[in-house]
């Protein structure tokens, strides 16, 4: 369907003119380099708990002998560094590796072949990497992950000169349509991409029952402490994540820095990223963070096993 309003689809978040990304290619900066190796594999991924199931997936992993990871391994860097990623396609189908906003090579890596991608990370933030081939099928099957770029020097600031934080979290949110996409694509069938009715919604690959208990996903801290949450929407549905107990400050929306503004629900468009600063308001109290749209709160209809986690005040 053609969205005639596409060019004017604006939310408050998007109306802030994105701040110009000032290139941080500072000549005087000594660039660090890091390298990663990713393997592309077919396998399975399990959403635990009621409503959960084992889903056939394709994913990136950092261990050629292990199952694919959903999401894939986190690639970490700092402002101004160079990253090399060696991607080995161990799957029988062609795949690629594209970091939105950082790389442009979309050419397929044939089955049982490999390719090296080298890119710089001038701006701190969070980026989606994924397989962009096959009309979103490859990404939907689990081929996605995040690149986290921190401020140079290792300080707990969002970027050089940016606001500070006490803790950081990464949330890769995603969705899968098991019966119509994963079950079909994994057995060599052709997915009807015009129909997408995802029935699994995950945060860091976890259903809500797990994500609410996962210390690496939960937000925590004492009163006044601030968590920087980097959010990547690797799915195909836009996500509106509502934070109970306090407003946050949105600092990145639609993958672009914005003038910070108060927010209790952050909308992350499919394929885009966001960053928020969330301060703890209440000591020794617990609150949910959850998506605010019907079926996305569930795992195949089982409530709260969808996209959700907790805020735990110390």
């Amino acid at each position: 369907m053609i969205n005639v309003l596409a060019h004017t689809r604006l939310s408050v978040r998007r109306l802030f003119a994105p701040l110009l990304f000032v290139s941080l290619f500072l000549v005087s900066t000594v660039s660090q380099a890091s390298s990663y190796t990713l393997y592309i594999k077919a396998g399975t991924h399990t959403v635990n708990g009621a409503g959960g199931t084992t889903i056939k997936v394709w994913g990136y992993t950092d261990n050629s002998a292990a199952a694919p990871m959903v999401p894939g391994p986190v690639i970490e860097s700092h402002e101004g560094e160079t990253v090399s990623v060696y991607v080995y396609n161990q799957d029988s189908r062609p795949h690629n590796f594209v970091v939105a906003g950082l790389t442009t090579d979309t050419i397929a890596i044939p089955a049982n072949s490999n390719k090296t991608y080298t890119f710089t990370t001038p701006n701190a933030g969070v980026y989606l990497y994924s397989d962009t081939l096959n009309s979103n099928v490859n990404r939907e099957m689990g081929l996605y992950g995040a690149v986290v770029v921190r401020a140079a020097g290792g300080a707990n600031v969002t970027w050089t000169g940016g606001p500070s934080f006490n803790y950081e979290r990464l949330w890769v949110v995603s969705d899968m349509d098991k019966p119509r996409w994963n079950d079909i694509a994994s057995t060599g069938g052709t997915v009807n991409t015009s129909v997408y009715k995802p029935n699994y919604f995950m945060m860091n690959g976890l259903g809500g029952f797990d994500a609410m208990r996962d210390p690496a996903t939960q937000i925590t801290g004492t009163v006044g402490q601030v968590t920087l949450v980097r959010i990547v929407n690797a799915g195909q549905f836009d996500q509106s994540l509502h934070f109970h107990s306090n407003h946050m400050k949105a600092i990145v929306v639609d993958s672009a820095r914005v003038t910070p503004f108060g927010d209790d629900t952050i909308n992350i468009k499919a394929g885009k990223t966001a960053m928020v600063l969330f301060p703890i308001k209440y000591a020794k109290q617990t609150f949910p963070v959850h998506v605010h749209t019907a079926q996305m709160e569930t795992a195949n209809g089982v409530y709260l096993n969808g996209a959700a986690t907790l805020i735990v005040g110390k």
């Binding site: 969205n3 549905f237 509106s240 407003h247 108060g262 609150f287 089982v302």
Partner: protein
Amino acid sequence: MKISIHTLFLRIRGILQAIATLLTSAGLASAAMMGGGGAVATAANPTSGIPVVNATSVTLVVQTVNKVMHDGVNVPFWVYCQNGGGMGGGGGCPVAGPTLQLGVGQTANIVLNMMMAPQEAAPYQGHTIHPHGLDVAQSEDGVPETGAPVLGDTYTFAVDAQHVGSHMYHCHVHTVKHLEMGLYGGFVVKDTNSAGTLLNTINHGGPTYDYEWNMVLSTVDPAYHNNNAVGDSTVFADYNPKYFLINGLEGISSTAPADTLTAATGKKVAFRLIGLQSVNAIFQIKNASGAAQSFTIYNDDGYALPSPITTTSIEVTPGSTTDIMVTLPTTSGTWYPQISYKNLRNGGGYTNGTVYNKLVF
């Protein structure tokens, strides 16, 4: 909180309050009048009949309301209803609960009375009120999974001036079902002066308006409303909205608008867009020939923006609110404030997915 003597007390008190309500017919009428206050502008909900009620002292019950949609299909809703208003005649309360209103410096005291409330079986029995965006403590947050009582409760909290603007409230029991069923409403925080009078400023210390128009956005997948669609069900694994509402009304054409406001020329109108729908939504104001009019956005999620933004189109995403203002022309005319609902995947539209309001000046 566990079921306790406190809860038992609340239940008994709730029953007594319900009985008291049944013995008086004053509830709804007094609520509608309470929306005023000396400095507050007129016409909070022009024609949709949703009352504006002070949150400092209000009792809500939950009722079943059956609505016949434009295609003749009957859809059951659950709605919050003030003091049982609408019971026993008149077809019940409207879809979208009363707009709750609270001044800075005031304390909300909202009683949820479960007397005769329709509900699901365990583990999703009962109802709560989640004051969404009010940033309340866990004990007032209305989330059963973190201990909120589901068989009646009193919600007490205050807000600071940062919150002057629009928020919302909704049931947080089995939200995938209960929000869809209609258990929601707008929650508006207002500035106050030194005498405690509510002011018609768009945000703390912000510009004033002459009229305010609350618009609660929601969508309806009738499959979710089916009496058999309860508990953990694969019905809730998919969402296919068929009906699209503003203030509980369809308004599928400009000649059959959901809500109509008549205002004086040259005056300022505040629109409070309250996103309780489960899909994306675009708000625009168009004139009789379809040209989009400019308006200015002041608040996002009830917090003042760093600086106002003037535009002709704004997306209201699920769970968010937006407060905007527009100055009417000095010559008379008609505008059509409207919401176009869009799917979450690619922004595609829906059949009858645009809901029209009418603004006559």
